[in-house]
């Protein structure tokens, strides 16, 4: 692999990594607070992309309007899911996981009659390419990095500097203690769902102009997000960020060298080994 190709792969890796970070952040936040893996995350990614398709491409609204709309709509959806699916389920984590699986299956399957059988395409928002340090990268891919960066910083500020963010951190530490201190656990959980879904929708919306759209498009990003949160440590936000970047780079560089599926295989084998020897990942705390 030439130096130029490596550089190009690296920059694209950061771009892909940014998407993964957005997916992983929501997943890790929801795990940290509620100890569930949101299997519906992939479907939300897909829905975010389809909002772009309809609002930006079909109706002609400006891209960033469509983008914000995707985040808001799916955030509200997330809040509703907490209310109607997560909260009513007693009997522990397992039925909740199964219910989220059911939700995902439904959304992905319903995608076919609603969106049609054929793959869809969204034209690029930022046309052309730019020259970065001597290699050409599509502007579309480059644009992802700052947008994702803004969202990540926004999330960081929210979690660490606001009252609601503090409530989230309290629930993550000790749910009962937080409730005793007056935190409305249900509402804050709903908020976590909303944020998680909004971030996943943002990821899908950002990728919409780059890859083709189909109802199953979220499955791979979900599995990758899954790998990331284990790598980074379940419930750890810095872990999700670092893990997302790492996987983005691995995906881009290794996949270019060996092919997409072997790269995927390697990352899964890697996390199995990681789970066996250090289940808490890079930054996770022991349960």
């Amino acid at each position: 692999m030439t130096a130029a190709l490596l550089l190009q792969s690296t920059i694209i890796g950061v771009s892909i990594g940014s998407i993964y970070i957005l997916m992983a952040l929501g997943l890790t936040l929801m795990f940290g607070m509620m100890h569930i893996i949101n299997f519906a995350h992939g479907a939300v990614y897909m829905l975010g992309a389809f909002v772009i398709y309809y609002v930006f491409f079909q109706w002609g609204a400006p891209y960033f309007v469509a983008f914000l709309l995707a985040m808001v709509l799916l955030g509200v959806f997330g809040f509703l899911v907490e209310r109607t699916v997560y909260r009513p389920i007693k009997g522990g984590i397992e039925p909740t996981l199964v219910a989220l699986l059911a939700l995902t299956t439904f959304l992905q399957a319903a995608g076919y009659p609603v969106f049609g059988q054929l793959d869809k395409h969204v034209p690029p928002v930022f046309r052309g390419t730019r020259d970065i340090l001597g290699v050409m990268i599509s502007s579309e891919r480059l644009m992802i990095i700052p947008v994702a960066g803004v969202l990540v910083v926004g999330l960081y500020l929210f979690i660490n500097k606001t009252r609601l963010g503090a409530a989230m951190r309290a629930i993550e530490q000790d749910k009962e203690a937080a409730a005793l201190q007056g935190v409305n656990v249900h509402v804050v959980n709903g908020l976590a769902f909303a944020i998680g879904f909004a971030l996943a929708a943002a990821a899908g919306a950002l990728m919409a102009p780059i890859f083709k759209l189909d109802p199953m498009m979220g499955e791979q990003p979900l599995l990758k997000a899954f790998i990331i949160i284990i790598l980074g440590g379940l419930g750890s936000i810095p872990g999700a960020i670092l893990g997302g970047l790492m996987l983005g780079l691995i995906d881009s560089i290794v996949a270019t060298a060996l092919g997409a599926e072997p790269a995927f295989l390697l990352s899964f084998v890697f996390i199995i080994v990681l789970l066996l020897f250090k289940p808490t990942g890079l930054f996770g705390h022991a349960p």
């Binding site: 389920i89 299956t105 399957a109 899954f226 072997p262």
Partner: protein, 322 residues
């Protein structure tokens, strides 16, 4: 008294109906063959679930069994009874390799190893093209060559599946009713307590896991020689979750739970097979059951009876408080 004859009578009726299916035509033979395979898969996951382990990767072992049996039969003309056994044993060995280090992991971490593992198996099948023909799929799998006879008709293959499934279910039922099954239940209910009575939790969980892998491998071999075409994405994460869902929707508290769940969901999605509506109905059924019948479909007769009599149908008389 009614209960005494109800169960065997029901079994006879069900088996009788199963035997009559080929008279309905090839389409129904195909449908019901797959139903029986799903039943076997669902029932094979039950011991692990009873121990309290959430295994979302069971289809990986079906995949191993399927490919092993298919390749042995296709390239080495191994007769079916041996290729089936080999596939199942290989699946069990793989299960041992994965299960032994993972079983000390708690709940959600173990579940994640299983998710990762099912993808690993699928990807290996997809990448090892020289062995499995990868994503183009493995075709030309021979029909079952059983004890010297080649089962050429779909009906005969169907009866083979029914027979093997019934034998497997009998074995699993006996295991569940024995001390082994009771011990598994105790681990799922209160593992600290079981440990305090001398139960080696790790060994028992591993055994439940391996039993499950064995029968998943059997199901895989049956599938391979019936459909006669194997395609790696068919054994991925989403399919693995189906097996889990059969157990949850049917009910985890009774042996027939996974059977009921598998039959119900397989048949429900059948009229829509091939279209997206199949999965839509499937997932709606899943969601509704989880939300409104948390004990699973097997609790339905009890709930209906309760509605009729105006009180809970089977509340035991509480002992006088001492």
């Amino acid at each position: 008294m009614l209960r005494r004859i109800a169960t065997p009578a029901l079994l006879v009726v069900v088996l009788g109906l199963a035997v009559l299916v080929p008279w309905l035509g090839d389409y129904y033979v195909h449908v019901f063959a797959l139903v029986f395979i799903n039943v076997l898969l669902a029932a094979s996951l039950r011991p692990s679930l009873t121990c309290g382990q959430l295994n979302i990767g069971h289809s990986a072992f079906m995949c191993v069994g399927a490919y092993a049996s298919a390749l042995l039969a296709k390239h080495f003309a191994v007769p079916f009874e041996l290729s089936l056994l080999s596939g199942a044993l290989l699946a069990t060995v793989v299960g041992l390799a994965v299960g032994y280090p993972s079983l000390r992991l708690r709940g959600v971490y173990f579940a994640m190893v299983t998710v990762a593992f099912v993808e690993v198996v699928r990807l290996v099948a997809a990448i090892w093209v020289s062995l499995t023909r990868g994503n183009s799929g493995l075709s030309g799998i021979p029909k079952p060559n059983l004890l010297g006879m080649i089962l050429t008709t779909k009906a005969s293959q169907y009866y083979l599946i029914v027979f093997v499934t019934v034998v497997a279910l009998v074995i699993l039922w006996k295991l569940e009713r024995s001390r082994l099954g009771l011990t598994w239940k105790s681990i799922g209910m209160a593992d600290h307590l079981a440990q305090s009575l001398g139960v080696n939790i790790a060994n028992y969980k591993l055994l439940a896991f391996m039993v499950g892998c064995f029968f998943a491998g059997v199901a895989g071999a049956l599938y391979a020689h019936f459909i006669r075409f194997l395609f790696p994405p068919e054994f991925g994460f989403l399919v693995a979750t189906n097996i889990l869902v059969y157990n949850f929707v049917g009910g985890r508290d009774h042996f027939v739970g996974p059977i009921v769940g598998a039959v119900f969901l397989s048949l429900l999605s059948e009229p829509f097979r091939g279209s997206a509506y199949e999965t839509i109905f499937f997932s709606i059924a899943m969601l509704l059951t989880i939300l409104f019948l948390p004990g699973g479909l097997i609790t339905l007769p009890g709930k209906l009876a309760g509605l009729r009599w105006g009180r809970a149908a089977s509340a035991p008389t509480p002992s006088p408080t001492g």
